[in-house]
Amino acid sequence: MLALQILVDGFAISALYALGATGFTLIFGVSGVLNLSHGSLMVLAAVAAWAATNELHVGAYLAALFGIGVTLIGAFATYFVVVRPLQTSRAIPKEETEIFVLTGTLLWGTMITELIAYFFTDNAKTVLPIVEGVVNVFGVRTPQNEIFTAIVCWVVIGLLWLIVNKTRSGKAVLAASMNPRGVTLLGFELSRIYVAIWAIYGVLAGIAGVLLGMFLGVSSYSAGPLTGSAFSIVVLGGLGSVSGSLVAAYVVGYLETVTAYMISPAYRFIPALLLLVVVMYIRPQGLFGRR
């Protein structure tokens, strides 16, 4: 019984983690950028959807779309205002670009969360769920919203797979994540691929954020832990490897759920972190990393 409960609960959480981490790892794979405003953008998505229902009084679907749209704009702003100027700046030596992008996106993320807290307070907010009610899955009472979350996550990940593997521009993105220099040599404009990748990222982070808001609720305090969990999943799976982060999301999701159920919710995050340290020492490139 408990095992089934863990299986069902862990599945939805892991699917959400997987979706959140996919965009994050894609950006790293293509442009080497670790976007530390990731958690803030997810919170932005949820709060925008929440505000749409509570201030503009729109329906649940429209609110979700609004949340995703706002996050897309936020992602573009992150790229054009912070990441790109830092990457192209002449005053910053090449080998230090990384730390500047990290610091810059971190500050940017702080600004986003502070603005949200200023306008909408830092109380926890729950987004109006699209589906409600409870069903029985293998004898476990499961909110339909949880099933909905898992399904949407996997459909979106499936769509992403199709885009990346079957369309021409998607293939260019995939190729760029494998070898950016090779792609430019083949005549693709790398800067266009970057814009495409940030668009994909914005949509993914938006969907993940809105779903998270429906499922668990968010506040501006969630931003840090969200970035942290995306970070650890991506490292565990191997920086830049999308399939790696999917597997890692499930490892982390289930590890957390098992710990929370079997030992205590207070210990929830510890086993995953310890696993992360062990992986770092034994296999620093992650489970499926290439470099």
Binding site: S89, E98, L107, W108, T110, G228, F231, S232, M280, P284
Partner: protein
Amino acid sequence: MRNLFRSRVFWIALIGSIVALLLPLKVSGYILGLLTVAYYFGVFSMAWDLLFGFAGEVNFGPTFLIGLGAYAAGILNGYGVPVYPCIAAGAVMAVIGGVVLALPALRVRGPYFGLTTLVAVLIMMNLIVVFAGFTGGEIGLTVPDVLSVNADTNYYIALIFMIVSGVILYALSRSPVGLILQASGQDPVEAGALGFNVTKHKLTAFIISAFFSGLAGALLVFYMGTASVGTLVSIAVGVQVIIAAVLGGRRTIIGAALGSIFLIGAGEALRPFGELSTLIVSAIALLVILFVPSGLLGILTRGEEHA
């Protein structure tokens, strides 16, 4: 020596120190208290800058070392150990922790080193909450003793500690060891080919950085009388240390201290803006990073050869 008197950094540091030494005659106890904290953060940032600016290693977990020193000292003090042995124990503990962290972490390159240090902080935060019986958990640890009850004394302890640390770290960064560190940070393969033991030098840098971080952390605990995750260990604190160093001008050591004082001062000056003050400080820091990546000290020493 003549170079030293010609460099603007030296004069900035000298004038700054003299002004700081005379401040207690003029300003209120409240401002002295703020500056006292700022000086300890200055040491955190300078220690971080030695590792980043010179060894080229991004330590995302300065608070791991700070927290080790602070909590080791605080917990020992709870068992009746006098203040100064506790502070020494804090520094030793941070060095031990630093070695344990650095030995395996230095095997990996680039972002992985930073990630390992970040994870160390996350684990430490969780452990502090789990072992709340020892550490006070989320509420924080209250230590029985303090350095001094006199605001002026506390101020001078912090100031002199910062100046001494600054002189040692700055001298180290300009010494042959500092040059080797800089070389291994920029091109480890070539530095290794020239016969320098890159790992050994980086480990040394890490140990020195850990020593000063732990010492400052322990002192700060006995100044504040408490230690908590929110004030000493959380990622946000680590970020403040890093931002201060980048803002002040990385690879300058002294800039890191200036950055810390600026950050705490700016946070205070913007207090009337209430909740927006963090936003404004972040925005200013972002603008500096975008437009003046060499930092505050970079502006002041513009045109000099070794900025």
